[in-house]
Amino acid sequence: MSNDTPLQKKLPWRWTEGDLTVTRSNAWSGPGCHEGCGVLLYTDSAGTLVKVEGDPENPFNQGRLCVRCLALPEVTYHPDRLLFPQKRAGERGEDKWERISWEEAYDTIVEKFNGYKEEFGAESVVFCQGTGRDVTWANGRLCYGFGSPNSSDFQSGMACYLPRLASLYATTGNFLVADCSQYFPARYDDPRWTPSECIVVWGCNPIISNADGFFGHWVVDCMQRGSKLIVVDPRLTWLAAKADIWLQIRPGTDAAMALAWLDVIIREGLYDEDFVEKWTLGFDRLAERVAEYPVAEMAKVTWVPQEKIEAAARMFAKSKPAAVQWGLAIDMTKESLPAGQAVTALWTVTGNVDIPGGMITTFLPYGADIWGGDWGYSHLPKETKDRRIGLDKYPLLRWGLPLAQADEIVEAMLTDDPYPIKAVWLQASNALACMGADPEKLLKAFRRMEFVVTIDIFKTPTAVACADILLPALTFPEKDGLRAVWYHIGNINKAIEPVGEGKSDATVAIELGHRFNPDSVPWTGAVEYFDSVLEGTEMTFEEMREAGGVLYPDYEYKKYEKALERADGEIGFNTPSGRIELCSSAYERSGLDPLPYFEEPTESPLSTPDLYKEYPIVLTSGARTWGSFHSEHRQIPILRAMRPEPLVEVHPETCERYGVADGDWIWIENHRGRVKRKVHATQIIDPRVINADHGWWYPEQEAAEPSLYGMWDVNFNKLIPWDPGRSGFGANYKSLLCKIYKVADGEGA
């Protein structure tokens, strides 16, 4: 008796079971998801997708799946799917469209984009994306192939993952993840791996969010293998309830918390002297800085008792190995880079770098140019690169990811400064309803555009408001592709014919790329492109799927000791000093403070006491729910039933104070606007804080303006300004102030 799968290992990539055909694949967007779990796609004799199961032979998820993949057929065959290219037949904001051919769509896009290029330069067209994951490389290829240096997203401070990436690349020369054995095909049974003694879950709820290629239930696997938990979260999550220590932090004070831990660890000598001495730079300066953030003071700042912070810091420092599974809350503080730097220092000074069960360094699997890469950027002429938006204001962008700065793009769209922006290519992004701050401002910026193209699997409020051409993308069973986030690479295998005339983002990148500039895409089609990026595997796309469709590169720990970490093949880390820079030369070079610091949220009980009198509740947002990926899946009945309406979590005492009750519709208001939410009274949140859902719209409501699928009344972003951190990274999406009151009769639900 055992739960070990009795299936024969090494099944082929396609086989039959009774009347059904089974196609093995990797579930990588659309619909949106970071993960790329191994899936088995069951199709009937008519070629219809009838069922999705987890692939028990895929080490990543080991047969497991979440509800969104289990419900995938309902997404793929939903009657609202975009099925063919359309052009706008009325005014922007009207929901009037005319069906066109791909040829006409491509011709129009090429004519328009090339026209702006001729008159205003290629940089006048920006290419932005959402969190589609399998669109990342396609977006980059299109942007740089066209000749524009402006690839980004419409999110203030690019405040999702990118701040942590930028922070880690700047200070360690690589990215690090909590080691839950994910680099080994044999997973928990691999003798090289050992479970963390302590895992810190910081600013995320990984079992629901599954962010950044990290399958959240790995934390639960590790708990079952003995790992203890510390959870830093303003809400009692399930993980927090199971944790040894839960620190109920005031939203936006993550850097203060990390600095307080460092204060305890350094003062009490709980750091790894040997590692600090051999492999880090600037420890003394870090210690001086940390002394400015004594734990007693930070307890007041973070609203967490001093003893609890000390207990957590000691527990973490005395556990080895220990790991930190961190999340979006770090990115969504305005000074996110120093916040990330402080958390990085925690696992660094305790010597938990690149050891089993610690924080391990990562690489693109086989160097495949998918999840990250150059995507043709290096081929842009220097004068074009120099015109990337945001470079002057945010010099750090010169040394890290070649992103254009999002807030500056929106400014340029509104003001023509530093130069006019004429067109936007928007891929897998519902920016108005989901990732963008202040949507009224963003809409104004879009309205100044002469031409906007969106490509997505469903029509969104953003498309109805802004798009001139609407292109249909595909769900993953309809396409071939590659899944590559860190640990392994795998085939996305097409199991069904596209439901309509949609094309994969990969195919569009190649076909439209040919029309932009044939030299930029020297591949005849998507599969030939995949073959080229798989060079490092010494397999073709076809060969890889015949071999099982999932490849794991060899993994080694302590690469910094083995000359496997640096680009130049020397020993050490991939930084200028070869060490992890606790005091960062990259930041210094960019005119930034080289050491971690904490800055109060721009609006908070401590930074704006007068505003706090008027808006006496701290407001946070962004907690994820099982049935949706941000603003997606709202039209899928079985998933919508899990969260039919946008909720706000309010402590019962707070409900009483403001005369609202569980189930009431209330307004959440600040000085920028107000949005509706339904009250969920719960003790999981501090009475001084409320937590509102994000990413809401109602696909069942009127699409045309002014409704935009009922978006305006429930669009949380109305409360958030475009206001990034000093580095250009980070924004206070999760730490605002507000007041609440009941929705009056006649104001609707």
Partner: protein
């Protein structure tokens, strides 16, 4: 002949509902119906820093222990898809033995 059942370590059930959904899809039940439904208890504060926050899956009359899947060499769909890997399928006697000395486990026979 020994009958089979499901042993669930509900201490680690995260309430992800993959069991419920996988069963619903496997058998095409109407929206909301499944051979496995998950009850939620809490979150309630029940002492200083002590919370009741449990999810407890329970089989319904619709559960067949996936007899067809099992015959073809697969695990019951709830067992395979459980994200927290807390459901074990096997002969009741063996599961009962395994349960001895454990807390927060529940055994279902069909």
């Amino acid at each position: 002949m020994s009958r089979n059942g499901l042993l669930i370590d509900y201490h680690y059930c995260t309430g992800c509902l993959s069991c419920d959904f996988a069963c619903n899809q496997e058998f095409g039940f109407p929206l909301g119906q499944s051979g496995m439904k998950v009850a939620q208890h809490g979150p309630w504060l029940i002492g200083e820093d002590k919370w009741e926050y449990l999810f407890v899956p329970a089989v319904t009359e619709l559960c067949t222990l996936c007899s067809k899947r099992v015959k073809s060499g697969k695990l019951p769909t709830c067992v395979q898809h459980c994200q927290a890997a807390v459901i074990t399928y096997g002969p009741l006697e063996e599961l009962a033995k395994r349960m001895v000395g454990k807390t927060k486990h529940v055994l279902f026979s069909r």
